[in-house]
Amino acid sequence: MKNPYIPETALIKDIRAESYEAKTFTISLKKKQLFNYECGQFVELSLFGHGEFPASVSEVIKPKEGVFQITVRELGKATRRLMELPVNSVIGVRGPFGNGFPVEKMEKRNILLVAGGMGLSPLKYVVMYLLRNRNKYGEVKLLYGAMSPDRLLFKNTLSSWKNTGERDRSLEVLLTVDTPDNGWQWRVGRVTEMIDDIKLAPSSTSAIICGPSLMMKATTTKLLDKGFGQDQIYMSFERRMQCGMGMCGHCMMGWKRVCLEGPVFTFKEVEDTLERLF
């Protein structure tokens, strides 16, 4: 019987500082096997002796050889250990788990991505997917907000996303921070305020949201006000996924388990949840 609790061992191939607190780790499975990842799924990373934590994948470098990237910051015991590790350290990988964003179902539609802080990490791969399949989608806009400029993720790549392809096929990126620094040229304020700044066609747009709990709540409320369909607001939820397989009970959100039925839900799927969502 297959033992789904045993991770695949993997090597940290590269470590890059992404913001003042976050790092991007390039991870390579030791058995060079297929890493069958879909936008929005998550993996469980093992720091042997320090535990396991769920993380989203920010980029898949070589899917057939199992090379991918995660972007995380220190938040608990296992991520603290990860931050200390040098290149070529051995870690464990289980997954990918969960459902992911149904990007194929969104074809021909406009896409509005709204990210807050570390929430851009799982959305980066979505952006890359959309850019690779750019002709299948209408207008693509990314609204991204963080507390301060030094907390923005993927600062270098953000500018390159904008310039991909022809003008009408490009990606519109809007940035905002709560606390600007001297050189800051973008907006100051909350990410939800940017929704008022842009032109939207709510009936033909799908929204993809990931960020801190209250940011997702505010964004959802705003988008519903603007006339977005409940089934066209996709959110990636965070919960305490421990087993990733629907057994340990930690990630329940009402009757839904974020690890199995999620982590991506439309607002329609969760609006009747009895307990607190955000």
């Binding site: 340990c248 009402g254 009895l274």
Partner: protein
Amino acid sequence: MEKVLEKSSLPAFFDDLQKKARVVGAVRKGGITAHAYLSFGFAEKLEDIVLDYKTTTVAPKKLFIPDSEALFSFKRKDGDIILGNLASKPDEKRVLLGIHPCDITALSRLDKVFDEVYRDPYYKNKRENTIVVGLTCSEPAHLCFCKSVGSGPDLNKGFDLLMTDIGRSYFVKVGSKSGEKLTKKTYFREATQADKSKRIAVIERLEQQLRSSFSIDGLIETMRRRYNDKAWDSYSNRCVTCGICNMVCPTCHCFAVLDKTNADQTEGKRVRVWDSCHFERFSRMAGGLDLRESKASRFKHRLYDKFDYTPARYGDVFCVGCGRCIKFCQSEIDLRDALRTLQEGALSEKPLHT
């Protein structure tokens, strides 16, 4: 298929079971003290097993999900990590002798959790290597309400054999092929019409003795409507979040995953241990956000899980009416009272998500 086993042949039956597998039954623990209790454990001889018990303290789930269980081992060697699969060997064969219908039902419920999208090798291994020889109760305990949740006093599936005390003998219902094999022995005889009538009389008597008026008819609708009802407060306020209801519950299966290592962290094991949704950090995420921060929300979560969430997912109520959580609750919270108050109480709702 229906058979009869004379009580005088019980020792022979026990011996034959023991030749096949280790026998597990309700055994006395805690010595001859005031703290003595019944729990499922290994029996060396028939006398070790208590057959006319009412309920055990700990449910038989501990035989399939131990309170602490290693999932795999890891060892550092020359900068690499060597992993050891601890689920590679099949588990020892076991016979569960004298398990009651409510606990059998609980195992059938757990089967769905541990073999849904993913298959848990530890649970399945133990489950597949266990023969269930059930026993209907001789008398219900005062907190039993299996009849209200459809898990007793009689049962049609989930067992290999199901025995019923009909006086000088046991009536034996056969529930599977491996159960049928066990009844090939000469001390089993075919059940007669008289035996069948005796069994029906026993079940009817049990049904009369199970007096709880608790009913789950329309309960899901009521619970959905009254999640924010103030009626919950008088129960959730009394809860001390000790988690004993989770520990003794035959269907509570939540576990925490953690790493245990030696002092210099060169080797260790990843372990899962029982966890309780009443504990404060149960749903707390990295960074500290806990969406079930209030005690009331955790109290409700357990009951909604049993009576609303699991029926939505699996089609079955996950409460089997064993009464353990009521018996061991130090705040004397009776879930039937709480739910009945909700069913009967006046509406006093607050809107969702505030």
